[in-house]
C-alpha cells in the first residue's frame, strides 16, 4: 500500500536567484528521511511536475552530510528579476512549490513522526 505525503512534511527549503536561474535547497528535518529525498526529489521528478514553468536544464547537487540537496534550474524565471513579468520576478516562491512535490512511502518505509504533521 503506497502512501503519498507532501515533501513539506519531511523537508524545509529556500530559493535563490541569479539571472534567469533559480536554485532551491532542500534539507531533510531528520537524517532518516534523507534517502527519500535523494531517491524522489530528482531533476526528472521536478521536471515532470513543473516542466511547463522550468524551461531549461535542472542539475542536482547532493550534500549527504547535511542531509540536503541543491536543485539548480535553468530558464526558470521568465527572464529573471529584470525581465520577468511575474510578480515574483525573483522566483522566491519556488521553495514552496518544490515542497509541494509528492513523496511516495511504500509499505516498507519506516514511519517517521514528521509524516503526521
Amino acid at each position: 500500500m503506497t502512501r503519498v505525503i507532501e515533501l513539506r512534511q519531511i523537508a524545509h527549503a529556500r530559493a535563490g536567484d541569479k539571472g534567469n536561474r533559480s536554485n532551491v535547497s532542500v534539507f531533510a528535518y531528520t537524517p532518516e528521511d534523507f534517502p527519500l529525498i535523494l531517491a524522489q526529489v530528482t531533476a526528472e521528478h521536478v521536471k515532470l511536475h513543473f516542466g511547463h514553468l522550468l524551461l531549461g536544464e535542472i542539475r542536482r547537487y547532493a550534500l549527504p552530510h547535511l542531509h540536503g540537496i541543491n536543485l539548480v534550474m535553468d530558464e526558470a524565471l521568465g527572464g529573471g528579476v529584470n525581465e520577468s513579468l511575474n510578480l515574483d520576478s525573483h522566483g522566491k516562491s519556488w521553495s514552496f512549490l518544490i515542497l509541494s512535490l509528492p513523496i511516495e512511502l511504500d509499505s516498507g518505509t519506516p514511519p517517521s513522526s514528521n509524516y503526521n504533521k
Binding site: R8, R14, S25, H65, N70, L85, N86, L87, D88
Partner: protein, 447 residues
C-alpha cells in the same frame, strides 16, 4: 574588544531596504569589531546609475543618511568599524555625505574612506560579449546605464591598513565586504585559498542579515520562529583558523540553529564545490554545521581554490517601462468575469493600440504567481486581474493602464478597485574583464 581570540563581526543590513533598529541594537550591545551593511543588488546598482545621471550628487543608497546619523555616533563610542557598499553608483558622494554628517555630530578624528574603481563603463564597447543571453552590447539595441566590476576584499584592505573607521564602497562582492576585515585582522595571505574560502563562508552566511537568524524561515505549523517581529541580526565570532560561530544578541527575536544556517549556506549558490568570488573559488560542499549552544552554530571545514582569473561585470541597460494595471471582481462568477476582462484587455491592446509586446495577465487569488494548473474552484469569489507589459514606449505603457481602467464602464459586470502604475525598467547582463584592467582606488577623508 571583549575576546582577543575571536573577531566579532555583525551585519547591519542584508539588503537596500533592511531594518534599522536591529543594527542599532547590534552596535550598542554586540561588542563588535566591525559592522557590515550590504545594500547592493544588480537592480539597485542600475537605479543608482539612473539617479546619478539625473543628479551627479546622487546615486547612493536612499537610507544612507538615516543609517549613518543613527550609527556613526554609536560606532564611534563603541570602537566599531563600519563597512558598507551603500555608495552604490557614487561612493565619493556618499563619503562626502558621511563627512558632513560626522561634522554635524561632532565626531572629530573620524576617518572615512571611499573605495572606487568598480565603474568600468569605459571598458565596455559595442562588441563586448554578454552572457545569458549570449550577444554583444550592440545587439541588445539598448543604451547602457552603467557597468560595474565586482571588486574583492583586496580593494578594501588598503583602507583598513590606513585605519579608516568608515569604509564606503560601490560594487564589491557581498562576501568580500566581510572577508576584508577578517583577512586583515588575522593577516591571512592573499593566496591562502583555504582561509579565504573560510572567510568567504562567513561572509556568505552573514550577507543577508536576518536570513541566517530566523528571518525568511517561518512556516507556521512546520517551522516556528520566536518573536519574529523583532528578529535580531547576526554576529559571527571568527577564529584565526577560519572557523566561526554564528549567533545573535540575547533578548532579540529569531533563532540560530542548524536549519537556519543550512538554508543560508546554499542561498543563491549553484555548485557548492565552486562558489566564485573575486577573492577565491570557495568550496562549501564539505562545510560542517554544528549547534554548540543556544542560538550558537559553529561552521567549519570550508575550502578554497585559486580565485577566478577574470572579474564579473554587471552591465545595466535602459529597459524602457514596466506597466502594471489591476482590477478586482468579487462574488459569484468572479473568476469568469475576471477571465473575460483579461481576454478583452489582450485583444484591445493588440487590435486597438497596435501593441505587439506580450501582455501578461494573472488572476490574483487564483494563480497570481505561477499559473499552475488549478482545478476550477467555484468557491473562489474574490480575484484580482493583474496585467503587465514591458515596453520602450511610454504611450504603450499608458495604453495598458487606460484599457484596464476603461473596464470599469465597458467591461464585465462588477469590476472595482482599479490601480495602475508605470515604472522605469532596467535590464542587467553580465560580462567579464581581466583583473589588470580594473584598478581599485581609495580616498580617505578626515573629519
Amino acid at each position: 574588544m571583549s575576546q582577543k581570540e575571536t573577531y566579532r563581526i555583525g551585519t547591519g543590513a542584508g539588503f537596500s531596504s533592511d531594518r534599522l533598529d536591529p543594527a542599532i541594537d547590534l552596535v550598542k550591545r554586540g561588542q563588535l569589531n566591525t559592522i557590515i551593511f550590504e545594500c547592493v543588488g544588480e537592480r539597485t546598482l542600475a537605479f543608482g546609475h539612473r539617479d546619478r545621471a539625473a543628479d551627479p550628487n546622487l546615486g547612493y543608497n536612499a537610507l544612507l543618511e538615516t543609517r549613518l546619523r543613527a550609527l556613526l555616533p554609536l560606532c564611534h563610542a563603541h570602537g566599531t568599524r563600519l563597512i558598507t557598499n551603500m555608495g552604490v553608483a557614487n561612493p565619493d558622494a556618499a563619503a562626502q555625505l558621511a563627512v558632513r554628517i560626522a561634522h554635524e555630530l561632532g565626531l572629530n578624528g573620524l576617518r572615512i574612506a571611499a573605495v572606487t574603481g568598480d565603474d568600468v563603463r569605459t571598458l565596455i564597447h559595442d562588441e563586448s560579449p554578454l552572457h545569458e543571453p549570449s550577444c554583444t552590447v550592440a545587439e541588445t539595441g539598448r543604451s547602457i546605464l552603467g557597468a560595474n566590476a565586482y571588486l574583492g576584499a583586496d580593494a578594501i584592505i588598503p583602507a583598513l591598513e590606513d585605519d579608516a573607521h568608515v569604509i564606503i564602497t560601490g560594487r564589491v562582492a557581498d562576501p568580500s565586504l566581510f572577508l576584508a576585515p577578517i583577512q586583515h585582522h588575522f593577516n591571512w595571505a592573499a593566496d591562502n585559498w583555504t582561509q579565504l574560502g573560510a572567510g568567504t563562508l562567513v561572509g556568505h552566511l552573514m550577507e543577508c542579515a536576518a536570513q541566517v537568524t530566523g528571518g525568511y524561515f517561518a512556516d507556521p505549523g512546520y517551522k516556528s520562529v520566536p518573536n519574529l517581529a523583532y528578529v535580531g541580526f547576526p554576529i559571527a565570532e571568527v577564529c584565526a583558523d577560519g572557523t566561526a560561530v554564528i549567533t545573535k544578541l540575547t533578548d532579540t527575536g529569531g533563532m540560530v540553529n542548524t536549519q537556519t544556517v543550512k538554508e543560508q549556506l546554499l542561498y543563491e549558490v549553484h555548485n557548492p564545490n565552486a562558489y566564485l568570488t573575486p577573492d577565491v573559488t570557495a568550496d562549501f560542499s564539505r562545510v560542517n554545521v554544528a549547534e554548540v549552544g543556544a542560538d550558537r552554530v559553529q561552521v567549519s571545514n570550508a575550502g578554497g581554490a585559486a580565485r577566478p582569473d577574470q572579474l564579473k561585470v554587471t552591465v545595466a541597460f535602459d529597459g524602457g517601462y514596466l506597466a502594471e494595471a489591476e482590477v478586482s471582481y468579487a462574488g459569484p462568477g468572479a473568476v469568469d468575469r475576471a477571465a473575460l476582462a483579461s481576454t478583452i484587455v489582450k485583444d484591445r491592446i493588440n487590435k486597438v493600440h497596435g501593441i505587439q509586446t506580450s501582455c501578461r495577465t494573472d488572476l490574483i487569488g487564483l494563480n497570481a504567481l505561477h499559473q499552475l494548473e488549478t482545478e476550477f474552484t467555484p468557491n473562489v469569489q474574490d480575484v484580482r486581474l493583474r496585467t503587465a507589459l514591458r515596453t520602450n514606449k511610454h504611450d504603450a505603457a499608458q495604453a495598458l493602464l487606460w484599457e484596464v481602467e476603461s473596464l470599469l464602464c465597458c467591461g464585465p459586470a462588477g469590476g472595482a478597485g482599479y490601480r495602475g502604475r508605470i515604472e522605469p525598467s532596467v535590464l542587467t547582463y553580465s560580462t567579464f574583464v581581466k583583473r589588470d584592467q580594473v584598478t581599485p582606488k581609495i580616498e580617505i577623508l578626515s573629519v
